[in-house]
Assembly symmetry: D3
Homo-oligomer: 321 residues x 6
């Protein structure tokens, strides 16, 4: 059975799962969101693995800013969560931030002159950006599993995750230019650092390559990118035949990560992100200052011991972090 | 018929095409350069699409610094241009900056001692760099279409463009090391940010990969990279059988971009370039300050309206920018 | 026969090969390390090409910090070395820094309280980092040829090299998380700048892609990456059937580089690394200040002359650098 | 009488002053903190001026992290606040973060090994840092008025403010080294950007200078800096004979700022801080993207009109921001 | 008599002074601007010293963007100019960019919606910024001499100069906030890097300090800073009793600089500016790459020879640069 | 008597003072340098305080690159050294790097063409830079005491120190421009970060200020800066009547620092330097990662205990670091 999500409004900031909770097997969420969430179904299918599901079928899984920020802030500090699997319920991953909602924000300006409207818009954009940056700031790795459509804000979301998987029927679309705006909540900033501007090709039958895959092209037109190209461009790292094997694969991968030292795993995420935004020399300096304490973990001894005994690191019981 | 290019020397800074000009169909330039240009043929094959053609067959399309700078500075501010297609006339794309010319610059030093010669060389290098940086600074996306050889400065040029296409017979060569110098006008700076240092492989017949494709290898030897590898490495996003379909494809892609909101398209280019050179956090901050005004465009409402009516954004008439 | 390596302890800083030494043909090292090295076999198989071989079979070619630093500091200033080929002797490339040794460093803390232990650990980490950074700082290109296992510190090492080759039986593993620590001597900093987070795929028989290849996945689990994926992800630029053809290929590539102007080649390496860590604008500015003197080399005239005479640049005799 | 501060617990995020509140004259707070604050007395002595007073005399005005963050987050978005005056009640400005408290945090480690204790300490340090960074992020200028002692965390606090004033009996002390730690919540980062490493000197009576004033000296010893030196070093911009005239001066200065265009004032603060942390070129670029919308404020026309009519900008009624 | 400024429109880019021109003595300009300038009087009072005078008395020396850019671009490449003295004609230095003009630019928006107006404003701001950045980019040191008022854009201008002098009656005012805008053409970016946020004080009669001098205070209010405070805050490096001695002092200082090696002087300016915007490590690396050629100047030998013969470096004849 | 400096050539890297050495009182060096140093006299006048004296009177204390690097590398790791006092023996502090030597380096180029000469010069410049950067990298604070002349390289040296003191007869001169070169070993990079570009003034008798003090002026002319101006500009933090009281003052200050927690003191130096070269946000992040381990020192408890008992931190016995 799934984790009992019991979080009273008065218990602000308390974890929403019961301690000592049994490992659950099912990867599918049961029954959808529970309070305090109305758009996200949160469960714990295995020990240390949190499954987050966009669950708002009537809105094509359009994301809710506030709930995302609240959830990931909580997960960041929750020792029972060591890795997150993120997916969408129903027919598709997500149609993004409801662009019509967003447009209506824009079309109903707040403020008495252009400067004041701009000031307020800037705050709103920053809030939208936070919806996804909070995923990146969470030190627990996030594996995202996409099926069907992943549009607009969905692309912003997955580029803020650490590992991307998809089904054969998945497709991705940077939609913003089509509604008259430059994508401003993460796609233009993170997509180039995820897939560069490259593409492979070489189908097995023809001698020239009929596809294209640039960030620039994706960002400037409404071209859809399908699963194969997503894999060959490096946007996703694995394509599955269907949703069921994808979720199984995501859970297995999450289990691999969850079974390793959280000191090592979370330190790795923090430093990979630091390195992305700094020179190699600065990355090395930061790493040394980081690991001068982190190497003093018992996890090294425990892991080394397991290695000597030819056991998997997953057999080791690590202290909570 | 093509755009009448009539730009008198006395009319410095005026646009070189007549307002209200009819959309033209032909992608090929007719008759080559017209004043003030002697090496570039400029036309407007579709509304909002400018076609620039290197047209200097007797010099293998060697580029002229001054004309490139003048043209792209003009295009940057020209509201009738929303996207640029760049190609080469004749047998090849370009043999680059005439390296013999460049070498002769170097071999005829100006200045009375080494320091002064160096000072003058530095100015000259900066001018050469400007030839290509001006493309990057132009906020209109540039689609470049390469056939045949693209050598030396040609590689500098295409890495400063936004989307790269090529024919099956195209090949690319970083030539500088062979004439005793480190490439100093953009290749070493931009090529790694375009293709990283990676390579694909996997021909359909053999189980191991006999090719190689690193930036380092390209920069350190005279190895030619052919079309397939250019596609698989991400240097180009599409390979066409021949020049004619490539130009048709380039024009179609340009039309897609030209039909969308120029506020969205040009804001996207500006911010993609900003993000390339900054951390994600800085990119997001800049984006928010950018879009706090740009979101106030009518284009959002017009585009949203079109979307609601299931029309393409290309049916919308956007104000000039 | 191989270069006679005769370097007396009293002759600190003198080159360890005899001047005017004949070009040798064999790529394989003969007899292993000679003083002052005990873990590295150093030879000069061709003019201007230095072959460095990890040669410590009883320790699975675990690397020795001190010898790496000493050797590459020497090579950096040695005009007889213009390019380095790096490989491993015996059954595998390397099992990395002996992680058990490293763990024992960690498990035997030095210092009277946590702060002091941390202070000393930081110094130790910085020393380990230097083992590989010294390769990057050496201005001569380093071609690394990997066969069999390349584990842990081996990955740190190869990401600090300039061009990577491997055999069909090679495999790569970021091992650190399995022993409870975040990789802190280069992998997290350099691997993402080498391979990004992408992967291609497309085997010739199936229509979807069963593989995965993210830096994140590699860094967070113990997944092994095999030769084909290493090639398709861009980690290596060429895969060879076996060790013998790989070494021949490495030597041929090294010969190509060694035959070109050392001013051009080494300036290219210095500026490619500078560009990796700076914005395009800063890279261009540095390049201009660099080449304002470097363009004044005779090598340009010599190379241009050879080009006019349709000779290879390798026929030119360049002055030592 | 002072502003009635009525903020119910259930009314989270609502402003704590009544709209249309009369301008009050008294600068001194009456009666101390009101809910939700227990350590801060908040009032509105003039229109658009918020007075914040550390009011915890029994603890020497030791600061409360949580209340500072809550208050300044609220002020950031409160249009009735255009400038903040910050001061301390009672005998001194503040003895800082209660260093004994902080030490006890440190002496009662949380976590099962050194790595986990470090992880938790890092979170705690980040929270302490936030206490002061929230002042900097608030776009309203903060004028701080110091009397008596300003120790440890007090120095962190005032360096995060925009303008510093003090009385003749004020003194400043970077205390951290004396309790065995490097100052980690802002002093080492901001103090050098406030006062550099310089000193004035030359009293009128003696021919040599007996004082010293380096950041380094202050940070490395327990030397107290008194009012005169604080003024000559630029730490404070004005010294007053006593507390009463200082508060009058602070209120007058705050009134000057509050009377000007909030679009201009807050844009100035945002861009001064941006410039502090970026190159001049980056600062100019950001400024241009900022002001492209902000210049479209009515405030420019209103202010220009006032200037033409020889009226003070303070006579203009600006829309709320 | 002054330099004959004869620059025909057809002779675009030719120097405006006759070669071999005799050194002139008078520092005051005679007769004001000559073509192509209408607001700047340019003369050559000594060999290698160019005197530029704002000469637009009817407009309180309001600056002309286009002429500033044209003049300083020319001076940058003119070997007869090794140092510039900049001053204002008539009653004051300058009332700045005509803020009313600028406001009218702002009040007459160009573009069909807010986004397009913003786009055009951004271009205009960038052009205004260029008016002063061109001074900074000119490698010849600029000594600015201020008398009377220096308001608004005048402050932008002098912070882009290298050395600032003033008369006893000079005063400085950052005026922008008073007209409803954040200063966007250099003051917020450069003033903090010139004067930090400090102040000295200590009049000889009183025991406390009645003045104040923060960048923040200057930028946020309309406070005027007078000569003494400008000196004590480091904004100017010398205060003169009157205009005549100031101009004599400026010319003497300019002569000192003009008499030294232009390779050394201009390399010093370039690297001081580079260092301002980079870390110390980056500054040192750039410096090394700069001087590896610049040290090869004959000027070192000539200067060393003069030093050995106890002659001033000003007696040395340096080649032109 | 002074510390017995006994360091045999065979004992490479061993500390040069005997363990458990008694505290010595005399600040003056006795008898000058001892092996392995020939230009530096090194002693230990108090526990944990190392006194380094330039002692090469026949060469006006010209500095020796190699010895500086060797000594400070050693001090960096020597737990008996917690603070360094640096001074000069004889009539003056130092005449700098022997500029004539340096010029001769330059005048006797090594390499067969300009590029190769440049390459070798760059290495030489980097080595010179290292002479002073090694002081900065040493985590122990360095107090420098200057008497008499401090010229050229002497200015490079003192700007790499942490606290500067001088006698009334001291003077400082950036000499490089006078010998035809831009200062390339630290002055242009560090001096602006030490003194900014400011000036004090206001003698007690006259109403205007006849002096000047800009970095630019110092760097561009041969103006000498005397003690008073050095103090008022912040270059030095204290001026003493004579050499004897200065050395006493330096030793007293060094004693203050040496008596405090070395974890706190050295962490403070490391982070102050980090902050100088990074934004405030990056400085705070690095600080948090640093102190997450360093706060776990016993020194905090010991220091807090001493504070509670009203004892000086200097009475505490800290473990070695």
């Amino acid at each position: 059975m799934l984790a009992a999500i019991a979080r009273s409004a008065s218990n602000h900031r308390r974890s929403w799962w019961s301690p000592g909770q049994a490992v659950v097997r099912a990867a599918a969420s049961s029954g959808g969101p529970r309070p305090p969430y109305t758009t996200l179904a949160v469960s714990q299918p295995q020990q240390f693995v949190t499954h987050v599901e966009l669950h708002r079928p009537e809105k094509l899984n359009a994301m809710s800013r506030a709930e995302m920020v609240e959830l990931f802030s909580e997960l960041a500090g929750n020792p029972d969560c060591r890795v997150v699997v993120f997916s969408g319920a129903g027919k598709m991953f997500t149609a993004g931030i409801d662009l019509m909602d967003m447009a209506s924000d824009v079309l109903q300006p707040v403020g008495e002159d252009t400067a004041r409207i701009s000031w307020n818009l800037r705050k709103k954009i920053a809030e939208y950006q936070e919806t996804f940056s909070v995923i990146e700031r969470c030190p627990k790795p996030v594996v995202v599993a996409v099926h069907g459509a992943c549009i607009g804000g969905g692309v912003d979301l997955i580029t803020a995750c650490d590992i991307r998987l998809c089904t054969q029927d998945a497709w991705f679309q940077v939609k913003e230019v089509d509604v008259g705006l430059a994508a401003d909540v993460g796609t233009l900033q993170r997509l180039p650092k995820v897939i560069g501007s490259r593409r492979k090709g070489t189908g097995s039958r023809s001698c020239f390559v009929p596809a294209a895959g640039l960030v620039n092209e994706l960002a400037l037109t409404d071209r859809k990118m399908f699963a194969d190209e997503a894999a060959s461009s490096g946007l996703v790292s694995r394509v599955f035949a269907d949703r069921r094997p994808m979720m199984a694969g995501a859970m297995e991968l999450a289990g691999e990560i969850a079974g390793r030292s959280p000191v090592a795993v979370q330190g790795t995420k923090v430093n990979l992100l630091y390195s992305r935004d700094h020179s190699v020399a600065e990355g090395l300096d930061y790493m040394a200052s980081w690991n001068m304490s982190m190497l003093q973990t018992e996890d090294v001894m425990k892991s080394a011991q397991a290695a000597l005994e030819k056991k998997s690191p997953k057999t080791v019981v690590f202290s909570k972090l």
